[in-house]
Symmetry: C2
Subunit: 476 residues, 2 copies
Amino acid sequence: MKFTNKNIYAVIMAGGTGTRFWPLSRESSPKQMLRIVGEDTMIRQTIKRLHNFLPLENISIVTNEKQAFDLNLHLAELKKGKNHLKIIAEPIGRNTAAAIGLAAVHLKKVDKDSIMIVLPADHVIADEKAFIEAVKKAVGCADSDYLVTLGIKPSKPETGYGYIKAGVRGQGSGVRRVKKFTEKPDKETAEEYIKDGNYLWNSGIFVWKASAILDEMKKYMPLLYKGLIGIERWINTKGEKKAIEEAYSRLESISIDYGVLEKSKNVMVVPADIGWSDVGSWAALDGVLPRDAYGNIIKGNVVDIESRDSIVLSDKRLVATIGLKDMIVVDTSDATLVCQKHRAQDVKKIVDELRKRKREEHLFHQTIERPWGSYTVLESGNRYKIKRLVIKSGARLSLQLHRHRSEHWVVVSGTARVTKGTEIYDVHPNESTYIPVSTKHRLENPGKVLLQIIEVQNGEYLGEDDIERIEDDYRR
Amino acid sequence: MKFTNKNIYAVIMAGGTGTRFWPLSRESSPKQMLRIVGEDTMIRQTIKRLHNFLPLENISIVTNEKQAFDLNLHLAELKKGKNHLKIIAEPIGRNTAAAIGLAAVHLKKVDKDSIMIVLPADHVIADEKAFIEAVKKAVGCADSDYLVTLGIKPSKPETGYGYIKAGVRGQGSGVRRVKKFTEKPDKETAEEYIKDGNYLWNSGIFVWKASAILDEMKKYMPLLYKGLIGIERWINTKGEKKAIEEAYSRLESISIDYGVLEKSKNVMVVPADIGWSDVGSWAALDGVLPRDAYGNIIKGNVVDIESRDSIVLSDKRLVATIGLKDMIVVDTSDATLVCQKHRAQDVKKIVDELRKRKREEHLFHQTIERPWGSYTVLESGNRYKIKRLVIKSGARLSLQLHRHRSEHWVVVSGTARVTKGTEIYDVHPNESTYIPVSTKHRLENPGKVLLQIIEVQNGEYLGEDDIERIEDDYRR
């Protein structure tokens, strides 16, 4: 199903600090990059869902600069060719009002009649057809300059979501005026909301004209508006990056809900029953993944005896569980979480603690994605580090040198083309080569299959930052 | 404190299948080899406790042939010199009556008046002084041809132990006649025992003359006796091993308690208050290790938030726990256990399941001890395996070859002396060498510091059994 209007755009909000799904999420791989529900990552599922009715070039992602690097890598396939996905990078996070405003300024510059669908990168929407229907309805309403939100028909008195009180029927079938936004309620209030029947969950999915949201920002957040509109003339010019940086250093950090929606008189809601969940914590998996006869969600290398109502996820290592009740166990190669289900929100306290102790288990995984493939740290010891490198067919690392370490490479599969000083030669499986300290070198996979290399580093300093790049296909 | 009698010997029963303390215990490192309580392994602590009053050459260990290899390695320091510890290997396990009988036959051959102290390798005894006092008392009684057991004064109505009902006072101060042995009682019965005041825990520590126990075996287990006595003339001859094997193939598998002690009229008990625990499961740690203010035992790389009455042990990897209550979490490099405390006995069901699935996590750890040092498997992949080898100063591996794999060696510390075919050469840190398939080779540490090597194996088959040993310092 394609939309008939050509001026519809989607803006995916991709932020996240990777705390609530630790240890699976890390700072470098927040929730949107995880495969928690379904086969693909949440952000790729979000894009695919939109790509059902929008061309790729009408989809953009707003993120911060730090995550833009990883997202570019993660979405490389979708960024190829002429009409590709766009990534808009904020220099620093300034909450949703600024991010949406920045996207609106971009879209208005491209097309003054742009209608933008704003949605988070990391929510689950089980019923795609209903989602498209709801968006279509919202687009019709947004076309008349309303700010439109999708309001989810609540299935239970959830205390973890904000609610929208819907008023009289608005224009279009089923669209209703918003009477008020509420904070997350307590249990009792949530039960009243359900009984009342006019309350909907605030999904964070919005549809409006770029011009309409900017007009309302002008009214309710004049400083933010002024900052953003100053960027407008630099969009798609050399000065864009600098202009955004300057503006952002002064922008307010306020949510779109608080800054605009709760104040505006023009807000409508489309009640929607689309199988939505924001999957806010490990405990939320119960609502979005199938449970076995004992109420468990068990995945991966797990041997369980008589657990109930528990979530046990393992990556490669063996996890054995006995008699768990309402527990969460999540295992990754370098860290394991064991948590009572009702304490799932406290996972962020663990991450805080790791930050305080200057640990690394909250920052990145043992396997790190790179434009050319990935590497996995197998062991770090005194004056040595062992990595497995996987290099994609046709890819190559930068021409580089290290001041403090030498590297032994043993090829275990594929063929390596090695540049070492002025020599270039191929290394085959079960062959090895050696790169002395301070020697220019490059590793390339000229073949058709994955190249896998075991690298043994020796040296007094083995930090990733001991690298001088002389030439790089990825302009790092 | 030395004993005045010269004819006192200790026999340590070292069996165990490594199930109850999985994943820390494995088939190749059962409980007696673990450092659960105190700095040293349980069996070394048991030996030290005896060595306080017995010379090493009066201490022997009865174990099965499979474990004898690992124990010889583990106790290598105590087996040096002339007057060393003895290890008696049973060809197959035949329960305690056979093991004790075999030791008795050995001791009677050496010294017909031998008094033997029989005790398990893997129990905790906190009060060494009281232990020695109790043993002394028992020796006095055993000298008059009684079979003597140590009976532990019960501190609570434990249902996990067998009880001994003590009768009238026997000879020597405090020694009492045994009225009966009981099975593990239910809670109610255990409480009655405590109230009664005449019941003691059966510790599995026995003292008797070798001749006395053999006499009682002759009476109550004539077949076992006949089998054992047939071995006697072969002891300390070339035919010993064969004689034992032949006898064992026909021996009954019965415990000493059931086979002799419950029937004999000559059994006495020394009531002892020695801080004893058999540490029968992870849950038993609560009784033998200090708990923090919240009732937790937390060791290693753990970040905990508000857990109570739980046991959390980690080796190297990070374990994060939130709000646990009465839980056990044990992490090792290749497997993690998460278990409700009152289900600790069911850990053996996990091991059964692993056995059934033909897994390896119940057999051995990632790091495996060898006479020359140790190796750690860092990663196994398709057609490759990566190990870190640690070779002790002065030690060398066997002269060997592999039919299916080649090996790349990178030295990361120390100096390697490498034999490769007919060449012998040294490899230094940050240097590497290569051993082709089917090439005779040997690795030696000629230096004064540990030699560490990263080994990358390549080949179609990478099993440990692809090894032909041409020459071996350890006669494997």
